[in-house]
């Protein structure tokens, strides 16, 4: 049985629908991500889990009990806010102790647990500091310490790293993952940064326009986005408009591209077969597009002209034109390729996904 389970949650603000029919399950001990562009409803979903927002319809179940109408202060979930929301009039100790004082713990236990929490986030001895004296990264750690000090049944993160600079963000990311794992906590993590979500989360739900489009492990989402908007949102993709040809078998499907008129064979690993002669979209990652010499004969080999090469350090992005079909390929090494060359662009059949529009 999942620890947390959202069933058909919906929420409107005035006239705009923020969240529509969201359902998801989070297993015990899982690090679960809500990923989506800003304004997609992920924060609202998190706030409904926290009890800071009431859903218009749907239920939230936690550990088998219905908590939909339970006020935030009685859920016992720790939450880390985007701007940390540290209490400016209290010092570090009192900030971390806040939830323990609300639970009327003894002074001795409070001291003990605050000390422990600050050690966990590597801020021992910072008890007496004022919060506005701390750097952004330190404030962040205090916010995490405050949330874990109450030994939360569930830990909620609302873009907690977005106010940090990039190096600190990556460093904190690793520590956060390690800390949550060590304490055996279950976490729900909201972010718009796919790299962050991929690095942190066991499973991710991609949200766009208030709906969950796809849920799965980061690797699966990346390799096989089920929908056009997921494909667009997660990394770069070559999106190829095609029509399915009637001559395909059930295992290998054949498509004809609208641009260039090429025939492309796709291995249908249990993917939904699209209706015949209907336009649909194929996706292939730039790093999976291979560039071969013009004379090699392979499956899905399209003769193409090199249009442009963008050097980006570790990789180079190569723009190809296959008789009007524009493709992007990512190569570790673009030595020997120059604009105007005639090459063959190879699209390996098992790297191609069929997208729902």
């Amino acid at each position: 049985m999942p620890l947390l389970s959202l069933k058909n949650l919906s929420k409107r603000f005035d006239k705009t629908a923020a969240v529509t029919d969201v359902s998801l399950d989070v297993e015990r001990g899982e690090f679960f991500g809500l990923l989506g562009p800003s304004g997609c409803g992920k924060t609202t979903t998190l706030r409904m889990i926290a009890g800071l927002e009431q859903p218009d319809s749907g239920t939230i179940e936690f550990d088998g009990g219905n908590i939909t109408n339970l006020p935030a202060e009685r859920r016992g979930f720790g939450m880390v806010f985007q701007n940390y929301a540290l209490f400016p009039h209290l010092n570090v100790f009192e900030n971390v102790a806040f939830g323990l004082r609300a639970r009327h713990k003894s002074n001795e236990e409070i001291r003990e647990r605050v000390k422990g929490a600050l050690e966990l986030v590597q801020l021992p001895g910072y008890e007496k500091r004022r919060v506005d004296e701390l750097s952004g990264g330190q404030q962040q750690r205090v916010a995490i310490a405050r949330a874990i000090a109450i030994e939360p049944a569930l830990l909620l993160f609302d873009e907690p790293l977005s106010n940090l600079d990039i190096t600190l963000r990556e460093e904190t990311r690793g520590e956060l993952r390690e800390l949550v794992g060590r304490l055996g906590l279950t976490a729900v993590y909201v972010t718009h940064d796919q790299e962050e979500a991929f690095a942190l989360c066991d499973r991710i739900s991609v949200m766009v326009g208030g709906r969950i489009l796809q849920t799965g492990r980061p690797r699966d989402l990346y390799a096989h986005p089920a929908q056009l908007s997921v494909g667009r949102f997660l990394g770069r993709n070559n999106l190829i408009r095609v029509v399915r040809l009637s001559s395909s078998t059930s295992e290998i499907a054949e498509f004809k591209t609208l641009d260039g008129g090429h025939t492309i064979r796709v291995r249908m690993n249990g993917q939904n077969l699209s209706p015949m002669n209907q336009p649909c979209i194929l996706a292939i990652r730039p790093e999976h597009v291979l560039i071969r010499n013009a004379d090699e004969k392979l499956e899905n080999a399209l003769p193409a002209t090199v249009r442009e090469i963008d050097f980006a350090g570790a990789t180079s992005s190569i723009k190809l034109d296959a008789n009007g079909l524009l493709l992007e390929a990512l190569a570790l090494d673009a030595v020997g390729i120059s604009a105007g060359d005639q090459r063959t662009a190879v699209l390996p059949p098992d790297r191609i996904s069929l997208l729902k529009e």
């Binding site: 603000f13 800003s38 609202t44 202060e73 806010f81 985007q82 701007n83 929301a85 806040f98």
Partner: protein, 579 residues
Amino acid sequence: MIDPARDTETRRRGDAEISSPSPRLPFPASPRLLLALTVAVVLLYGVIYPNLHVIVASLERDGNWSIVNYTQALSQTVVLESIFASVGVSILTVLLCAAVGIPLAFLFERYTFPARRLFATLAALPLVLPPLVGTVAFIFLCGESGILARLAQSVFHLEQSPWSLRGWAALLLFHTYTMYPFFYILTGAGLTRIDAALAEAGRSLGATRARVLTRILLPQLTPSLIAAALLTFMTSMASFSAPLLFGGGVRVLTLEIYTARQRGDASLAITETVILAVISLSALFFFQRYEGTRRFAAAAMKGSTKQRRAIATGKSRAIAIACGVVFSLILVLPVATLVLVSFAREGNWTTQTLPTSYTIANYVKIFSDSRASEVFLNSLSMSAIAASAALLWSFCVALLLRRKGSRKWKRLLSWLVLVPWALPGTVVAVALAEAYGKPSPLLGSFILVGTFWILPVVYFLRFMPLVVRALQASMEQIDAALEEAASSLGARWWQRFSRITVPLVWPGAVAGTLLAFVIALGEYVASVLVFVPSNRPISIAIASELRDFNLGTAAAYGVALMLFIGLIMMIATRLERRR
């Protein structure tokens, strides 16, 4: 300050990048009901009933509905003249204050030169001066037998005083002196908010300095200027001490209401009160309507905003310094005069330029004579009662306004809280006196007028909007996420309130309360209408000493009052800064 109760929750919310301003967390129904009940009762007794009573009374003659009071009042030339005088004085005051305050703000906020700081610290002085004390100081300084007139007389060997401090000119001079800070301060604040890059962008696009001023700076200042104009207009409409002491032939409405009541012509007083109230409220609506159309979305402010240019070149620097010194002198002179006169031996300043003999007897008298010193205790206790009540009250109102709920009710509540602030003190006092001067349906046979409690109630009603506004401003500054964080950490609503909200708003709330307290200390306009002889406030004592020509004693009272006010304002500023 303009709008003590602007709706706080107009911001849209959603899944934004920045922590979304969220609906405030609800608190349970029972305390909410209690709050709503308290607020409703106070508003009913303090605002709704007295004002309705006055309106109804003005429409009644011999027990029948009738507009004869109005037709009679408006057929008297003296009433028409007083309406004309009130509005005319107020409009001219606004224009004069703008003419003085705006250039000064530009000079002292945009440029820097040696005497700037001196002026900047003194600029708000007239605001701290209670109107009555300011009026008295002005008489000592500029009156026909004041220091300046005597000086001119002795220098030019004149038989008579070269001028008399009477009528329009005197009134406008005094109003300008006491009310220009509204323009000075609000324009200055507006200027510091304007992104300096906008002016630079204008210049880089080829606009001349004059064009930048008229097309970029002034349009952006419009909200500040409207706010200043509103404050000045309302204060001028409510002005009473100055017209009373040196208005001469200018009979303004506040004065007419006072004299009508002294004569015992209650129905005329009531009718004039309603007319004054209608003019004041219409002005408020007019200005706010206009203000609403002139708001600019605050542009993202990045880079340099506050930049004072140093005036370095010889001639303009000398002129600027001279301006600073002269204005500082003008600001200080009335106060200095008051201090000087407070040390003058009674009865010996007759025809000389300055008093000839000095003593501390006046201070000894006001602090040792029990009849003379009790007024301090009276004013302090009544103002303290009013201010503490206002503090408690402001929490009730702010909490009600903050929670989720019908916008219509919240707007009505904000408006009702605002009403006593928008009405001149004369109107508030007359309304209470009329409503509770005889047995009433709300208080039964208890008659409020004539008891100790009438003045604390008047002070509370007049100045509580200031405290509500201060508290609301502080509450708006609290990040909604703080309370949410507290909530997610397990704090119930009373824990959130006592451990998060109260500590965070406390400095602002106390500063607002202290402000209300000092204004109440020097209150005269309403006090003179309803005070009880056994419980006179300081202002009444000053006025009666003045009537008996005990100039030194009146001045000593004034100085003591100023010192109190100065001290408390210092504490308030400290608190304000600690936020």
